[in-house]
Symmetry: C2
Subunit: 206 residues, 2 copies
DNA sequence: CGCTACATGTAAACGGTTACATGATTCT
DNA sequence: AGAATCATGTAACCGTTTACATGTAGCG
């Protein structure tokens, strides 16, 4: 059996690139970055503060970002990071590598796979909760996309705006959530149909 | 800022549940499981042999699975695992917990986010490779789904078949890959449009 | 003769999460 | 008075990946 492409050295370490890509939108503190990533408006990667501050330090040591301490009144001092020349180069180099494809990895599907032995009501509740969360996330994405487009169609937007990258990541998030919702609806319907049957007759094989 | 639900104790450890769910389809060796997961027909989780054999040992020690050594001629002996009573109970208990929702996490989106500073040709090649991979994966899923349905419609299938769980996980994979393809097409179109512009005039802001 | 399939493992490294520490300010 | 926001970090742990080890059988 074969397992994906034996990275001889120079591993991905994609978090740094995700941070660099985000910092292209403007200088930010660790706290700012944590907020941007948590809000979901940055939907291509995830960070928690503990990892974030450590990684920013390492990135500065590696010359990918520069920082500047900003003194504040009534607030703790903060450290403002911006992309350095080395960071730009690293991002360009990284973008030429072939990216690993992603796949579904979802605990909910583990439950669904075990449909035959688990409680259907609990499962339906879980699916329903997922659907609600996806609807909310979808609304968030759409509220961010609308002001970017400013009424223009996609083609014109692609030519004119410097936010095309951001737009495409949001479009991915939107498509992802729409598909989640569609699947939740399908799953709910079929599990409910099976349950209805189970309450009136006994199980058949095949 | 708040970070998702502080699991006080009893962490998820979803791999064991993924393995248990798979073993419901029938007893298997570590090698069998590795193949099933690698083939992509099991699309809800992923394992590599190193982790697999170690986890199966731990699961046996915990009473979730039982094993039986099968002596073979001309082949190394193998260890055949099957779900134990404890495993069934654990799976039922697990299914009542609320699952964590998933989100996109994709290196390709990091590149796309950094559209303004990276090489467009390299990016378009990467997107194209992704699209091809998704088309192939989609065909695989569909070749597995067709024989499950055996010409029946979904509603009837849901009532009759004991493979509804498997079907729904495959439907998720199908929807996921279809959405990947749709996004790749959109991204290709818009990046190409921008590139065409970039070759004739200079960059504008907004 | 070399490649793939069968079959099971160990050890080290890595990336990410959780828990904890600290402390001022502003909002309800 | 208590909660939330601003702001930055450390240490321990856990799940996953990578690299390595070992050996037979069958195919072209």
């Amino acid at each position: 059996m074969e397992y994906s492409g034996t990275r001889i050295s120079e591993v991905a370490v994609a978090l740094r690139h995700a941070l660099l890509a985000n910092l292209l939108d403007g200088a930010a503190t660790g706290y700012d970055l944590a907020r941007r990533f948590a809000a979901g408006s940055t939907n291509y990667w995830h960070v928690r503060p503990a990892q974030l501050y450590a990684e920013l330090s390492r990135m500065e040591a590696a010359g990918l970002v520069g920082s500047e301490t900003v003194a504040q009144e009534r607030r703790p001092n903060k450290r403002l990071y911006r992309v350095a020349v080395g960071g730009l180069e690293e991002l360009r180099r990284y973008a030429c590598e072939t990216s690993e494809r992603t796949s579904v990895k979802d605990e909910l599907l583990v439950k669904v796979k075990a449909l035959g032995v688990v409680d259907h009501d609990a499962l339906l509740r879980d699916i329903s909760a997922r659907r609600s969360a996806s609807v909310a996330q979808l609304e968030l994405y759409e509220s961010i996309v609308a002001p970017l487009l400013r009424g223009r169609d996609e083609a014109r937007f692609a030519r004119e705006s410097r936010h095309l990258g951001t737009y495409l990541t949001l479009r991915r998030g939107i498509g992802f959530e729409q598909e989640n919702i569609r699947w939740c609806d399908e799953a709910t319907k079929l599990v409910a149909a099976r349950q209805a049957r189970g309450e009136t007759s006994s199980q058949k094989s095949a």
